[in-house]
């Protein structure tokens, strides 16, 4: 089902239902929860998107923060129009992703992971050390215009869902095939005249722009942002969503993000045990069903098909 068109239409139907829910629900907690689930889904999908070229990009968290800070700075400090502040989030995050990718993607595997981790922490420290953008306290007061305010959750859900479909579209395109080829054996694309570094940078830019937009939307959804919102732990949680949902299909990170975010609401009250809970869930998932939820679904489908024969 996952690789066929009906699966895509089911996802479109769920996305439309989510937008309608965000539009019509009267309980602000539930609407914000839907926005939060989709924000996490974009973070996880972007992380998985870069995993296509074989790299674990911890700086996903940094570009989420850059998107959020871009929107917050231009909205609160500069007073720029809402749509412009939102548009700048993916553009600035994408541009900085390009610079980051061009410098760092000549490294691979653990080296790239360490560099991306360092970049995330350096960016966070820059926020904390810069009083003009609120230092440790961050920025407050990002509100959508009055005319949009009531519809903002629906707008955010629509844009986040569109971002997820865009990432899926790229994955299924020729470009996605090239990303997979790089992950599989980058010497082959090099040998037939392709610029592998440029393709890797493009992959990071697309993912960076996606989380940049999510960051911008998060700034307006939350009204307040602080450096502590954008630590490397954001990327670690996104990795947990990917692993629990399953890496084998674009739907995996979305399912993982939905499950863990919703369960996270329940465990949020158990303080220090919260992180232990996440860790335990990841370990159990990797041990019991390493393909995640989508792998489990594929296995179940295989069993059903076999028993039907």
């Amino acid at each position: 089902m996952w690789n066929r068109l009906p699966g895509v239409w089911i996802c479109v139907a769920i996305a439309i239902a989510s937008v309608l829910f965000a539009l019509l629900a009267t309980n602000a907690y539930y609407t914000s929860l839907v926005v939060w689930v989709l924000t996490n889904a974009v973070l996880a999908s972007a992380l998985r998107f870069v995993l296509q070229i074989g790299e674990l990009n911890i700086a996903t968290a940094a570009f989420f923060g850059i998107g959020a800070y871009t929107t917050a700075i231009t909205a609160v400090l500069l007073g720029w129009p809402f749509w412009l502040t939102l548009l700048l989030a993916p553009l600035v995050a994408g541009a900085l992703s390009a610079l980051f990718g061009w410098v760092t993607l000549r490294t691979k595997g653990p080296y790239f992971l360490l560099v991306s981790f360092a970049v995330t922490e350096v960016v966070r420290l820059i926020y904390t050390q810069t009083n003009a953008i609120g230092g440790n306290s961050g920025l407050v007061g990002m509100f959508p215009p009055m005319a949009i305010d009531a519809y903002y959750p629906a707008l955010a859900v629509a844009l986040l869902a569109a971002t997820l479909f865009a990432l899926y579209g790229v994955e299924r395109s020729d470009l996605g095939r090239l990303f997979k080829a790089i992950e599989n054996n980058d010497a082959i694309p090099r040998s037939v005249g392709l610029n592998v570094v440029l393709l890797k940078v493009l992959c990071v830019v697309i993912a960076g722009s996606a989380v940049g937009l999510a960051g911008g939307l998060h700034a307006y959804a939350n009204n307040v942002i602080a450096p502590s919102d954008f630590t490397f732990f954001v990327a670690i949680l996104a990795l947990a969503y990917v692993k629990i949902g399953g890496e084998g299909h674009a739907l995996g990170p979305v399912l993982g993000a939905a499950l863990l975010t919703l369960v996270g609401q329940w465990v949020a009250g158990i303080s220090a045990w919260e992180n232990i809970f996440y860790g335990a869930v990841i370990v159990v998932t990797l041990l019991v069903f390493p393909g995640g939820l989508v792998g489990l679904a594929a296995r179940a489908r295989g069993l059903v098909t076999r028993s039907a024969r």
């Binding site: 080829a181 054996n185 040998s191 392709l194």
Partner: protein, 250 residues
């Protein structure tokens, strides 16, 4: 097939290496190695293990930068140029190991070879079908490359290179692990690529019988240096080659 051909096919020089050198720390893998490849010929590059064949391949395809010497493709100095630049000039290589995208389908593997040029999807697929048919992969397009039998995997690595429309095809031990009939059909393919498609082929191969059958000319490397050069017959009778490579008993 071409055992009677003693002279290189009479085209222009399409690839020239001058005093090529590559050092890895204290080890000199290739030293003062010069050779020419002429348009339309099949040139064999042979030598014992560790002779520097793979390093030479990496140097001429841009996967390694030479420590010294110069390299010209179609008259253009490409010394130190990237693999992308050299490939786009028409020199495309295959690999001895990890020569395909094992987790992807055959069609996706061959498609990768077409992406250096802008083409409509249907044109790309046309190219894929043409190359697949030429290499005996037409019935396996949806198979995952890693699940293909070994012989077809070797063919697939050639198919990827062919999809990139090379003028110079550099084949790194393409016959390794192939059985008799597979070797024959591979050699027929090389000949067809030369005669029908006008390709120039540089062949690194350990199967000496195949090299003697397929190549117009053979160059022999030993300890990173040129040991002998000439027609397959000349080289196979060369005392130094027999001693260094073929063995005294043969």
């Amino acid at each position: 097939m071409n055992a009677a051909v003693s002279m290189p096919a009479g085209g222009e020089v399409i690839l020239r290496a001058e005093n090529l050198e590559r050092r890895f720390g204290g080890l000199t893998a290739v030293s003062g190695f010069s050779f020419e490849l002429r348009e339309g010929e099949i040139l064999g590059l042979i030598g014992p293990n560790g002779a520097g064949k793979s390093t030479t391949f990496n140097l001429i395809s841009g996967f390694l930068r030479p420590s010294g010497g110069r390299l010209f493709v179609k008259g253009r100095d490409v010394t130190g140029a990237s693999a992308k630049t050299i490939s786009r000039l028409g020199l495309v290589r295959t690999f001895q190991h990890d020569s395909l995208l094992s987790e992807m389908s055959v069609v996706d593997n061959i498609l990768i070879g077409t992406y250096h040029q802008r083409l409509a999807h249907e044109k790309r697929m046309e190219k894929v079908r043409e190359v697949a048919s030429m290499t005996g992969l037409a019935d396996h397009l949806q198979t995952t490359a890693g699940n293909l039998p070994h012989g077809l995997q070797r063919m697939l690595s050639i198919a990827i290179a062919l999809a990139a429309e090379p003028q110079i095809l550099c084949l790194d031990e393409p016959l390794t692990g192939l059985q008799g009939a597979e070797v024959s059909s591979a050699l027929e393919l090389f000949e067809k690529l030369r005669t029908t498609h006008g390709l120039t082929i540089l062949l690194v191969e350990h199967n000496m019988r195949a090299v003697m059958r397929a190549c117009d000319r053979v160059i022999v490397l030993n300890y990173g240096r040129l040991l002998a050069e000439g027609s397959p017959e000349t080289v196979s009778r060369d005392e130094a080659v027999i001693e260094a490579y073929l063995g005294r008993g043969r």
